[in-house]
Symmetry: C2
Subunit: 213 residues, 2 copies
DNA sequence: ATCGACCACGGGGAAATTCCCGTTTTTACA
DNA sequence: TGTAAAAACGGGAATTTCCCCGTGGTCGAT
């Protein structure tokens, strides 16, 4: 089954390259894009097949993300709206979520995380890791560590998958990596968390609020 | 290392049998008991070795649990106070916690759970599962179900241990059961949760708020 | 220009987990 | 007073996890 994606972003280059990226994901296809909210909504009305998920840039000229999200929620309640933004500003996050978004993603996320987020959104209807990841990212950028360890992007994504019923082999499949590579993430996180079992790692991930459950 | 326990309860029979039970736990010894708060506090002043943990019945004549807890907090801040009660009444729980208790246990808990709670309190300084278990117990008694499964007491205790770095063999040791018995709990919970790995079980336990992390 | 990280990957083996096949006793309860 | 559920336990085997031993590439920093 293929999930249809719509994108609205005012940077032409970003818009198109993101589209390329998403088209390369199995099970996702970009069916519509626009350079601002008004442009996007106009095209949407002419569209025969509605997208399942719409990625909305928060800052756009003419019609911004919040206004666009409100209209989408009103006229197309079945479409899942995801906010896209450069900065993890709490107030914009809140206003986007109040406008009916089911997720909030930062533009500097890893492609693998984007794919995972889209999967989760299409399956569960929401993706919450970002809210936590934003906090985590902020910790990484400013404040530092204390006993706080810093995980790499891929370790964080691996961690999310590790908190599930999947075997490492299946996780390797999901992340398009060799099983041994996954084993490397595991070893690294085990050491950083000071645990010696997958359950211990998963518990620590939840304790540190690095994953959504 | 041995942890010293004090108990205050107005039912002579319960007081003494609980003392017997706790004395049979390795690493715990009852050093003091009393039939009400005043009696207990009076004996405590004459006592050379202070208890590490005090179990306080909420409903006692002369001086009840809340008043006793307040005095203990004031005069012996190092002692960890645990509330004991027949009923899971929210208001009494809150007033006991406000009086400085670090845990709230129902009198109908399984001995193994009591031992685990005491262990956690002496190690971590608190035990929170009860607050969650109270909700769980309430669900079991009244309402219940829908997709909600019902776990037995021992399965619930096992679940708590399973959400840790311990191996099943180590859990068997902690619970004083044969490894195969633990395997039985595992099989049963797997089926009830519809999972096929320990991590999946642990995640489900957290999702259903059956364990503390 | 070397150093430290993060990344990707491979083989082998011990230990733990998962999942079958069972038995017996106790406890609750209708 | 049957019966059903829960508890406790045993053996064997397939799979997964865990933990070693490595290789080599990229990239940013001192």
């Amino acid at each position: 089954m293929n999930v249809k994606i719509g994108i609205a972003d005012d940077q032409q280059l970003f818009l198109k390259s993101l589209g390329e990226l998403i088209d390369r994901f199995t099970e996702f296809t970009v069916v519509l894009d626009g350079l601002n909210g008004r442009d996007f909504l106009y095209k949407l009305e002419l569209q025969s097949q509605l997208p399942d998920i719409v990625l909305l840039d928060v800052n756009m000229p003419v019609m911004d993300g919040v206004a666009t999200a409100k209209v989408l929620e009103q006229k197309y309640p079945d479409i899942k709206v995801v906010a896209l933004s450069m900065k993890d500003d709490d107030t914009t996050i809140i206003s986007m979520l109040k406008a009916g978004c089911c997720a909030y993603l930062l533009k500097d996320i890893h492609p693998a995380e984007l794919e995972m987020a889209l999967k989760e959104i299409s399956e569960k209807g929401y993706y919450n890791a970002d809210a936590l990841n934003i906090r985590y990212r902020r910790m990484l950028i400013h404040g530092q560590a204390k006993d706080q360890v810093s995980l790499t992007e891929l370790e964080l994504i691996f961690l999310q998958y590790a908190c599930s019923d999947l075997t490492y082999k299946q996780i390797a499949g999901e992340m398009n990596k060799a099983p041994r590579t996954i084993d490397g993430y595991r070893e690294s996180v085990f050491q950083k968390f000071n645990v010696q079992s997958r359950v211990g790692m998963a518990m620590e991930a939840i304790r540190r609020e690095l994953v959504t459950i």
